[in-house]
């Protein structure tokens, strides 16, 4: 197989600056890159869609942002139905003529990456800036990745074997693997969006001081993990699935919580 195009988004360094979203609009609104794609409408489309989740409760929270664009899947219903083409380099492009008028296409993507353009009566989506990649001129790579100030969004043009190695080494994942579509967009630190944490603090009852160095153990749902509290007395068990967990620390009764989402259980006072 020839070199393939991939995007990798690292949630740890994404802070919702929207440069990717702005760059996408800058490139596609008011510019006609047919046959790749017609101009994007000025408002409404989100070819790069920034999803946000706030985990926990104030003041122990964090926020995860996930950039969701067309995942350029190896298995794509649009391609199977003849409305789109998957190029040799892995980029999926809508065939605007064939797709014209077929609103049912909007439901073909489980990631919801397709938008309807009323003016051309056809669907549109991320092209991975194939017109720029093909032209071989600046900025050489998709505009979203080029404009990312923290390099949270990176573009790769490599052999699948090399990509598999990066996936392995950096612990990359696909979003919604259960869709089984083999996306060409991977995520790092995906748990910041998809998993849960249990957090809290240990406080010494007598001195009312944060208890640094306390050993806190979380058990449940097949997890058994021990953490040492920091100088704020805090612990944070992350990457948890919903379920029932018990938190144990010397000098206090065990605390058992059932979580559906991330939870700040507050302070545990110890003798």
């Amino acid at each position: 197989m020839s070199k393939q195009k991939y995007l990798v988004h690292d949630l740890a360094f994404c802070f919702d600056c929207n440069n990717c979203f702005m760059a996408c609009k800058d490139e596609h609104v008011g510019n006609d890159w047919q046959p790749y794609t017609a101009p994007q409408p000025r408002h409404g489309h989100r070819w790069v869609r920034l999803l946000r989740t706030v985990r926990g409760q104030a003041p122990r929270i964090d926020v995860g942002y996930l950039a969701l664009m067309c995942q350029h899947c190896e298995k794509c219903a649009m391609v199977d139905a003849g409305f789109a083409t998957r190029r040799e380099d892995g980029i999926v492009l809508i065939d605007q003529a064939k797709a014209k008028g077929h609103r049912e296409i909007l439901d073909m993507c489980p990631y919801g990456g397709i938008y309807w353009n009323d003016e051309i009566d056809a669907p549109q989506k991320c092209t991975m800036c194939a017109h720029i990649i093909d032209s071989g001129v600046e900025p050489y790579i998709p505009r979203c990745a080029h404009s990312c100030p923290t390099e949270a969004l990176k573009f790769y043009d490599i052999e699948p074997e090399e990509m598999a190695k990066i996936v392995e080494e950096e612990g990359l994942e696909v979003f919604h693997p259960e869709y089984n579509t083999n996306p060409h967009v991977f995520y790092k630190n995906l748990y910041r969006y998809t998993k849960n944490f249990i957090t809290g603090a240990i406080v010494d009852k007598a001195s009312d001081d944060c208890k640094e160095g306390a050993q806190v153990t979380l058990t449940g749902e097949g997890v058994n993990e021990t953490q040492t509290t920091d100088y704020f007395g805090e612990f944070k068990f992350d990457k948890l699935d919903p379920g029932t967990y018990t938190i144990s620390v010397a000098g206090a009764d065990d605390v058992t919580v059932t979580i559906k989402e991330s939870q700040n259980i507050g302070e545990i006072f110890v003798d």
């Binding site: 702005m22 760059a23 510019n31 408002h43 989100r46 409760q57 104030a58 505009r143 404009s147 100030p149």
Partner: protein, 866 residues
């Protein structure tokens, strides 16, 4: 791409390549450096070598700027209000209501010149008021300090002085503790990146979100530095009522005080250090003045008798005592940088009703831990890179083609390099100086509606510590009253305080003529009698440096990883009949009879060449080559790397940093700080003298004390309006730049929300407060107090604590539902709700960042109040 050409330009959010085809902008991208550009600097720390990536970064308002150039809100032609007749009925009562008709430039110019000349003959040039927005579009020749002042100084006018709206507490408070008047009270930041990487173990970010408010104009250049700090194991703690974006990326801990109570925490930290003996006693003995008496006050032996314990601070701020104590102990143990604000100074807390004491509290803590010793400093991580500081290229605040030494920093160096006094001359100031007529921007409505006003300090009071104590009055003695307002841009309703005032004032009968010179139809432009269209920086020629404004932020090119000087190319012709400011003034100056003096026979390009040759640029590249390449990168020069900030002070040496002050006459033998004692003054000598002269100010005592914020949960008004509103500088737009105007930014989900065809501004509130009011995420709500009502979209969640709400200032859109100035606004100008009271009796700054409000579900009403 075929047929495209790549040009260069620059912006408030970083330098850009602009791709143009057939006279139209195709795209704007960040600049990547190429192989002909010089190598970057390096820093060695802990066995590693750090060097910046070979690229520049841009902010999102720059990334989306094409949509602001091509916007249906652009003003493309001169216009006149349909029922305004300068020779007959002016219909002042219909300003903001009656609509416009297109007129020619000739007709517009005739009205303007005839009105200006009439008023000058009636009452003198003092009768003409003008002021521009804080932030012009980028470019040192076209900037307001340059072209605008050159023209206005020659025409004559009363200036509305800008208040130091990002400094406030530092300007009115910190300056009395340690001087730095030339920085309006902010600290120097020289070479602190190296100090931090090599020596520090902890950074406390206090009212500081450097991933978002990257200092100013510096793109996202500083992100990489915090990544290095994180990799070296430097821990980062954040104190902010809002869970900010840097806290999310780096914070091991978020402490969230109630709005207006940060200084309770700083006092409790000091209390902990005093009682546990964990502060630098030797340093304090040598470098602080009034410390012992202050320490007694902190311990509860002062007049209020209250020990400032962590438990006391918990009651004030809502932050658990044990967490304050834990932070205090760790801070005392570790080499710590205090990032108070996002620039090295600044921070939303300085723009609040406790801003004066918060800034003094920050300095107190840094002093107690040996400010200036290795690893222990005040550093916001946004400046302090080791670029060449010897290479001279001015910022926009250095005056450009005006040479105005009173209203810009031209007199520091640049005017003497720019004007030879034989063939080319500055535009001298004869009106807008200390003894001329000028009014405070925050009180334009009072001056216009009441006809008189008294205040202290002229604008940015940077000359001396005492300058801010000087009394002024409007009208200035012997000067005429204002009859005309020549407004540049339209943001005040979204940027000043209690801003229904700014809408109401336009119906003042004494205001005979209102002219608006603006790029977009936004904000208060709708109140003008005549509108003239300016163009963007992509439609004119200019020159500038990335992140360098200079003036009251000396050497702030040290925000950027590479010093990039841009030739700002005219990428497209001005849209419609819009013109560059220079061309507008050149055109008008012909009719005013001052064309030759204003232009000296030069066009913009000729001024740019003169400007270029007045800098150090010709030592690197000829002007022709610069124009051809489009930019210039200043090479790394080890000899140009400055010494470390405050190290000279810690070591009792003569200052060896390139800072602009203190002036020799404000020191003894060039040693010490600018204060009378040369030390950090816990009891301010300047304020003590002012008090002794009878100017006693309960909200700004000579000693740094815990003065409860006058608009916060403590205040009587909180019984009626229980929610404390934080209203910081905006996250996505640069003040009003980028907001509204049908720009791409409307689609940013955390900026505005589309509901029933209208893009609403956002207010963030805690789940508990929302539930108590029956408000759900995405609901339209009315935020209100006695000052007015604003319709917003609620974002319900956990990023603020119960009792705190958060909505950015600087909305560009003013959209009153009923009579302007008297009804609810759905544009999103939350500044309508903020207090117009000065910070204190003699500290004439704004305190918008701690307003008390109530929020309810909006019932669709227009909420008119009179």
């Amino acid at each position: 791409m075929k047929g495209e050409i790549r040009l260069t330009n620059s912006s408030t959010g970083g330098p850009v390549f602009v791709y143009v085809k057939d006279g139209k902008i195709v795209r704007l991208t960040p600049m990547d450096l190429d192989e002909t550009d010089p190598e970057g600097w390096t820093i060695e720390a802990h066995g590693r070598t750090f060097t910046p990536p070979r690229k520049t970064t841009i902010q999102m308002y720059t990334a989306g700027q094409k949509s602001m150039v091509y916007s249906d809100r652009r003003l493309l032609y001169p216009m006149k209000r349909v029922d305004f007749d300068p020779n007959g009925e002016r219909n002042i009562q219909n300003r903001g209501i009656s609509g416009y008709e297109r007129i020619s430039w000739e007709e517009a110019a005739d009205i303007i010149v005839s009105e200006v000349n009439r008023i000058k003959r009636e009452v003198g040039p003092g009768g003409i008021l003008s002021t521009p927005s804080s932030h012009h579009l980028w470019g040192n020749v076209g900037y307001r300090h340059s072209t605008y002042f050159r023209f206005m100084n020659l025409m004559g006018f009363t200036y509305a002085d800008h208040n130091p709206d990002s400094w406030e507490g530092w300007h009115w408070g910190a300056m009395h503790m340690w001087g730095f008047s030339w920085r309006l009270g902010n600290p120097e930041q020289y070479n602190l990146l190296e100090d931090c990487l090599q020596n520090s173990e902890l950074i406390v970010f206090w009212s500081s979100d450097p991933e978002v408010n990257n200092g100013i104009y510096g793109g996202f250049e500083s992100h990489i530095r915090r990544r290095w700090m994180d990799e070296l194991g430097i821990k980062m703690v954040f104190i902010d009522p809002f869970y900010n974006h840097s806290a999310n990326m780096w914070g091991m801990k978020w402490l969230s005080p109630k709005v207006g109570t940060d200084h309770a925490i700083s006092f409790a930290i000091a209390y902990t250090w005093l009682t546990e003996g964990t502060y630098d006693k030797e340093y304090v003995a040598d470098h602080a003045y009034g410390f012992e008496e202050w320490a007694e006050y902190v311990l509860g032996n002062g007049e209020d008798g209250i020990p400032k314990t962590c438990e006391w601070a918990e009651a004030e701020s809502g932050v658990p005592a044990c967490e304050i104590r834990a932070l205090a102990r760790e801070w005392a143990k570790r080499k710590t940088q205090l990032a108070a604000g996002g620039l090295g100074g600044w921070g939303g807390a300085c723009r609040a009703t406790h801003g004066i004491e918060w800034t003094r509290g920050m300095i107190a803590l840094a002093t107690m831990q040996g400010l200036g010793k290795p690893g222990s400093n005040m550093y916001s991580t946004t400046q302090g890179v080791p670029t060449d500081h010897n290479f001279f290229f001015p910022g926009y605040a250095d005056g450009g083609i005006s040479g105005d030494c009173s209203n810009s920093a031209a007199g520091f160096k640049f005017a003497w390099r720019m004007f030879d006094g034989k063939t080319t001359f500055p535009a001298p100031v004869k009106m807008n100086w200390e003894a001329g007529q000028h009014i405070p921007r925050l009180k334009i409505p009072e001056c216009l509606m009441n006809g008189k006003f008294e205040w202290y300090g002229k604008g940015f009071c940077g000359a001396t510590i005492e300058a801010q104590m000087h009394p002024y009055q409007y009208p200035a003695p012997g000067y005429g009253s204002i009859k005309m307002y020549w407004k540049y841009g339209g943001p005040h309703i979204g940027t000043m305080t209690a801003t229904n005032r700014y809408a109401k004032m336009y119906h003042s009968e004494t205001l005979e003529f209102v002219l608006s010179q603006s790029i977009w139809n936004e904000g208060e432009v709708m109140f003008a009698d005549v509108i003239i269209p300016a163009c963007t920086n992509y439609e004119r020629w200019d020159i500038s440096e990335f992140g360098n404004c200079s003036g009251y932020i000396p050497d702030n090119f040290a925000q950027t990883n590479f010093r990039v000087i841009s030739f700002q190319q005219k990428c497209i012709e001005p849209l419609g009949e819009s013109k560059s400011d220079y061309d507008i003034y050149a055109y008008l100056s012909k009719k005013f009879g001052i064309y030759d003096i204003f232009t000296e026979g030069k066009d913009e390009m000729a001024w740019i060449e003169q400007y270029y040759n007045a800098t150090d640029c010709p030592t690197l590249m000829s002007f022709e080559d610069f124009c051809k390449k489009g930019y210039l990168v200043v090479p790394y020069n080890p000899e140009g790397v400055p010494k470390t900030a405050f190290r000279w002070f810690a070591e009792n040496r003569v200052r060896d940093t390139p800072d602009w002050g203190p002036a020799p006459n404000q020191t003894v033998g060039l040693k010490g700080l600018q204060t009378t004692t040369g030390k950090i003054e816990f009891i301010s000598t300047s304020l003590s003298r002012f008090e002794a002269q009878g100017f006693v100010d309960e909200y700004r005592p000579a000693m740094h004390k815990y003065v409860p914020a006058w608009e916060s949960w403590h205040a009587e008004v909180a019984k009626k309006y229980p929610l404390g509103m934080l209203s910081p500088h905006p996250r996505f737009s640069f003040h009003t730049m980028g907001d509204a105007k049908d720009s791409f930014m409307l689609d940013i989900k955390d900026h505005r929300v589309l509901v029933d065809g209208w893009y609403y501004w956002i207010i963030r509130m805690n789940t508990v407060d929302a539930e108590a009011r029956g408000i759900k995420d995405g609901d339209l709500v009315r935020a209100y107090n006695d000052r007015g009502s604003v319709i917003l979209c609620a974002q319900v969640g956990e990023r603020v604590q119960p009792g705190t709400v958060h909505s950015y200032e600087s909305c560009a859109e003013y959209a009153p539902l009923g009579k302007p100035g008297h009804s609810a606004d759905r544009g999103g100008c939350v500044n309508i709700l903020t207090p117009d009271r000065y910070m204190s009796k003699y500290a004439c700054g704004m305190a918008p960042n701690s307003a008390q409000i109530e929020v309810e579900k909006w019932d669709g009403g227009i909420y008119e109040i009179y």
